[in-house]
Amino acid sequence: MSKNPTNNWSRRDVLKASAASTAIAGAPMFFSRHAYGADFLNNPGDSGTVTLGFNVPQSGAYADEGADELRAYKLAVKHLNGEGDGGMMNTLQPSALKGNGILGKKVEYVTGDTQTKSDAARASAKRMIEKDGVVMVTGGSSSGVAIAVQGLCQDAGIIFMAGLTHSNDTTGKDKKANGFRHFFNAYMSGAALGPVLEKEYGKERNAYHLTADYTWGWTQEASIQASTENIGWSTAEKVMTPVGAGDFSQYITPILNSGADTLILNHYGKDMINSLTQAIQFGLKDKQVNGKDFQIIVPLYSRLMAQGAGENVKGIFGSTNWHWSLSDAGSQAFVKSFGQEYGFPPSQAAHTCYVQTLLYADACERAGTFEPCAVGASLEGHKFDGLGNGPTEYRAEDHQCFKDVLVVKGNDNPTSQFDLLEVVEVTPRAQVEYAVDHPMFAGGDLGSCNNGA
């Protein structure tokens, strides 16, 4: 590695060496000067394009959701740039979108794999922010990851539009001024499911929880427990399972002897597919306990999971943010253009990601800038309609969207391979709304917004 040090130094060598050392010493100044002078981080300035960062799981237990999210993002970029049929851009009310990119700049994007791990997700988001110069990061499909990336975006001074994240903490204990969530949350699932479960299964049941061991599982378990105990149910036991466990049989066997007559699966993605399938293989659904048929409930449902679990989802209740069979104009426009592009209907993960991208673009147009604080201010308290969930509001106090929630049931007689869920009830917004300082959401602080410069 080392050179022979005994050579004599010529004048040329000295000049070369001093030039090199000046360059080395000057390098930090040169490379950090971009940090000053811009009024916010990654200002696209006069450039003709603007870059968005799509950070989704491409491997791990939530990879299916991630793949669908990415499809939706690509479709949203297409529509924003004025290609394709425009999808929900035509139904959004009010809308400042023009179909010529955002603020006249063509939208480009970069993608990253979160691997459903906080570390990897933050590394990938950092690359987008530091190297690719994105003005906004979006994605999710695991609340742990969403919270980690949201914290990073807050520190860096970039807007984070959360994708699929259902934990109460995302807009509760861990809420951030630069983070916004369109998706519903565990509390809303509980509030919507409670009355339906009471009607279907009565007031006397004994529930057994299997819960994914991270922020989402914890808050969903607490939310569902509160709302089921509210209708008179008791809770037999709550068991934590690791994310991505694959085999859940060791957790399912004890349920048979616990005296519980209802199993609540606080699982998502491949975990839910595996645990539900195994629960049914173990014959839980055919059992009679305390004189009642054994029931299984999956509080957070998605069509992708229903597809994976196949026959097993029949008659099983859950809640969802959106479903492709909805008949409003927005949903239909979205299903149509997504179907034309990819040949199958979108999932709820795809829907929320598409909507978030449009909402961000719309907020930039209304604010007239990409500056995070201004964009955030124009999202706060914004009321809109026509994006598939009916009238919706971005609450200013916690950056959570409030809208109707769907209670769904596994379809007993599906007419196609996608017609797996049947909407049982549309729970109105008023029933799922909560105060900002609700105990399940307490302890957080938005902090002040960060422009990053």
Binding site: S2, I24, T111, K126, E130, K131, G144, Q154, N450
Partner: protein, 380 residues
Amino acid sequence: MNRISAVSDWILLVVFAAVILTMPVWLAPFGADYPDLMQKFAIYGLFAIGFNILFGLTGYLSFGHAAFLGVGSYTAVWSMKLLTMNVLPAAFLSVFVAGAFAFVIGFISLRRSGIYFSILTLAFAQMSYNLAYSVLTPITNGETGLQLSLSDPRVVDAMAGISTGRSLPSTNLFGVKMSGLPGFYFCAVVLIIGFFISLRIFRSPFGTMLKGIKSNQTRMAYTGLNTRPYLIWAFVISGMYAGLAGALMAATDPLAGAERMQWTASGEVVLMTILGGAGTLIGPMLGASLIKYFENIFSAFNDQTLNQIFDFVPDSIRGYVVELVSLFVGDGWHLTLGLLFMITVIFLPGGIMEGFRRIGGLFSRKKSNTPSSGAVSDQP
């Protein structure tokens, strides 16, 4: 150690320092000149250099080094939550805690050697991972990861009257923010110091003793020497390096997650060391940089970027080319890494450093008849 090798060591150190500190310049053509990735190069380089002190010198293959990295991270984040956002106390505490932890694990694991030692360390690391993941949730915040919050006490900062109001404070070194380029230079300086210490260890009688253990432990024992204290110290020192690397990770990005302790992370540092060249001074750093480069740059290539790269190929075949190449980039980057690793291990058992030596040997033989003893020594 004669005077000439001491001089060449100093030159090696200066060249190493210059190369590390100029990373922002020469990494630009590779698209890797952004702070986060350069921080990773420095941090994982330090981790691998520390691992090499154990594996490269004594030949003891630890499969649980990520546990110390994780312990270091958690300690650093707790120091930032409870004491101060300054990274120096966090770094010192992490080194100390990781060293103590390494002493306990080393004391037990080093009763065995070879594969049994590897399995023991692996078991301890997986135990730590599972503890951090579930049982110790109040300390580690489980899968979600330990993060800073506005309600943290930060006793020292509070006494010094430092308050950031309603926004989260950032990690700093006496006021200099530790994100971005300043963070990289901090990591780089720590790496250079770490490299210097490793260099001194390699050249010291202690290092020679460790090499003796590697070549024939039984013979060492027959000479009346108790090898265990040497092994334990090597284990503790390399655990401290890992703890320091963990602290740097927390310093540049104040978050600690359990997945840092998973067996895949332990396996990664083994790969880094072997890919670069175990037992060499520079090799582990090279291996670490290469793997991190693949993980961050290759994994980010999507069809859009590939189409841009293969713009010169006629449209008719471009689709096939892109499809073929996309197998090896994006989420397929593991495949590329695996192939590279296989090729290296099969053709260059000494890692990239052996490749360099062979090329170097080729030139020195052709150009002049200087004795090859200098070029083919087992140290760079």
